[in-house]
Symmetry: D2
């Protein structure tokens, strides 16, 4: 069981108002929950900056008809067995593929793997959605 503390924060009125608008728009039940999320987002960023064990998903948009591309994507992933958990392939239409590579590992290795995949010729759009393995996030 985690002990809860309560403390006050001073802030410009306008900043609070802007944040409250966002909080409501995003559907948060309370301002506190929205603030906790903002703090945790910073902690996740820190885990990546400090090279901790992290998790994430690499999104890849490409045409499967691009010569040699899908084989190359598979090849790279099979050489990163320690980082790749599983890959989900969505068949958008006859041509376009969307792949989600679930990854976990040291931040630097994961980022390098993402760069290697996204920079391939034929990958139209790619991104690394960075998150945490959750151990240090309450």
């Amino acid at each position: 069981m985690t002990k809860l503390v309560r403390f006050s924060v001073s802030m410009e009125e306008k900043l609070v108002a802007a944040f409250d608008r966002r909080t409501r728009k995003r559907g948060y039940a309370t301002r506190s929950e929205a603030i906790r999320d903002a703090l945790r987002a910073q902690l996740v960023r820190q885990e990546w900056e400090e090279g901790e064990e992290v998790a994430g998903v690499i999104t890849l948009l490409y045409k499967h008809s691009h010569p040699g591309l899908s084989e190359c994507l598979t090849e790279i992933q099979h050489h990163a067995l320690l980082q790749v958990i599983s890959t989900t392939h969505i068949h958008l239409d006859r041509e376009n593929c969307l792949e989600f590579v679930a990854v976990r590992g040291k931040a630097e290795r994961v980022r390098k793997l993402a760069d290697g995949l996204i920079s391939l010729k034929g990958v139209k759009h790619g991104e690394l959605a960075a998150t945490s393995v959750g151990k240090r996030l309450l």
Copy 2:
């Protein structure tokens, strides 16, 4: 077959140098491919801003022991059948779960679904990785 054009761009030397360092670091084979990726990233952003049909993945980090949370996540997703394609669940450890919800649909609906899931109490970290269905991206 897509016709290729070749044209020149004028730019500050320092900007080119900085971009070239990034290009090499990310593993791109050529500067042109890195520039194409930068342009396509802007087009993806535009699809989201203009409310087009888009695709993406919602990442959710949470503890499955949080009372009622996993049922609530499932419930919301089952009420968004048109947007949700499939969900991948990674069991990080005894407590922590990482879920990747593959989504597709009108930008506004997808973003609202993401907000609704991420803002739930008990979701420690969440993000919407925004990409495209690829139809208008070469």
Copy 3:
């Protein structure tokens, strides 16, 4: 709310004993639950035989280095957009791939798709795990 009925069944003693051993071994809480599962399994089979809308997963084991195979698998799946929901790729080792193709549709189309994928040269093992979309199963 579904109304429950209670009725009796006559059966050879030995058959009951054998089924009870299986029930315990499989971890069922009660004999009734194990019997309900046996009946539902028959109903799922019937949905497939009668050509209903069904669901399932096609498992495919192959080496990604087999020339042209992964492209061919992708190509076939992209021509069956109505049946294929999403595909999960597990990287077993440097060479071996395990793919799970989640499918849904008319039984005959799904089976034909499964046959087409499994019979490809280079697919070492494949199977269609047949289940139901659940509408008619209580």
Copy 4:
């Protein structure tokens, strides 16, 4: 590179004819490929019988509204971290869920995990699609 051998088999004419009909119906290019598949299917079965390291997918059909069920499914999977790779959840309709649990490990542990999940009250249909990790299958 694997050396190929060629040898002859004697068989009842009718058995060959029946197998050839199946071979054509399933879309195999040659009788040899269909026979290789039949042999590999036996070897996969043997890996499971002899308790080798195997792989597979557990399919689970259930209603997410069944009280406590989805939490129980998640709980069991999080206690089998060594066997569970990832889980894909398909939202069939407002009520019905289809889950594919990708598994890998000693045959006995995997089978026990499958039994534990499938026998839960509320799981309408479940199956273990058994395959191999591919190391010993050519």
